[in-house]
Symmetry: C2
Amino acid sequence: MRFSVRECIPQNQVRRMTDAFRATDEFAAQFDSLLVWRRDVRRFKTDLLEPGLLEELIDRACLAPSVGNAQPWRFVSVESPDHRNAVAESFERENAEAAKLYKDEQAMLYAELKLAGLKEAPVHLAVFSDTETPLGSGLGQQTMPETLVYSTVCAIHTLWLAARTRGVGVGWVSILDPRVITRTLNVPGNWQFVGYLCLGYAIENHDDPELVRHGWQERIDRSKVLFRR
Amino acid sequence: MRFSVRECIPQNQVRRMTDAFRATDEFAAQFDSLLVWRRDVRRFKTDLLEPGLLEELIDRACLAPSVGNAQPWRFVSVESPDHRNAVAESFERENAEAAKLYKDEQAMLYAELKLAGLKEAPVHLAVFSDTETPLGSGLGQQTMPETLVYSTVCAIHTLWLAARTRGVGVGWVSILDPRVITRTLNVPGNWQFVGYLCLGYAIENHDDPELVRHGWQERIDRSKVLFRR
């Protein structure tokens, strides 16, 4: 899988030259804006994705880093209405359960949050990690076997950003019972459920998280996350 | 944290218009090439990063998605030579141990692989996840508490890509004893070690993984990772 890109960046915009990929200031700024406008989307149009676009995004996700090049990511496009209903029911059940954790004002706020777009999103992707893949021959996993599932998370995030460059929004639904998803989709026993993604075109676009906008949780700044030793 | 980007994309290159962020075909192609040329870098120049660049990258990493907006990522810049030596020793020890897993030709190949650039990389970042952060009030974590550490993985991957847009290479070292890292850096007990990153300018640039190039593990294609249900 190769992309020829050397010629596509104007010479006068080279920020730092490497032998091959040349990132311009303009590209770095656009990449930053991609991060800002990425968002976890929960309000989808029902418009379908163009034919082939899902496959294009999966190909990009496969460019994610993986420990020992183990490529443990497995994507299941959930298409059957019965399967989708089972997932939506799991969400409703677990969300009702989670709501009980909160009291008073926080409970009211929680009830008003829109936490998934399962009904509207045209594409549902259940993402699993193959915990027993022979690929990579265990390289890099001996002291930290959890890096295998971390690789799958990197693939999800790669897909998320690639989708946004193509105008497609992604929402990651975690309020689900992993056992229900695994059983419903009848996947191999060595596949660990990692995340359930809704994909589609967003109704609204924002540069701040839904949970900030609705007063659930503010962002913290760098002083709270960067330390020196 | 806002970026004004609406004006920076030529109107004639709009791929799909949204209300705000406009991704052009050219940007999508450049993003794809960023994925292709990202790489796990292990061969670094010793040149320092420009002042402020690490902080710029941390700010971008903080734009990663996180469950309930919990922002559990904690970055420790490892600067003391004693600490760096302790990390390098852990790598040498665990790598020697891991090498014993392989036999014959595979053992010879493993011994020849360069799996870290700890000695040359000017910046070392140990990344942890705060397992007990009150941020986000547990939203989205009830059935899948592992999504908290997945958020930190997304921040690592965001930093990785942002670094590459600025010409900086990143290598993720997982052949380490997490207990040694945690003890050496004396971090709070509720911080879980996620990954150790080397940052710096790459000596070589490649569009294929080191482990492909050196015959350890080939890439697999989409037919092996995309399923329908």
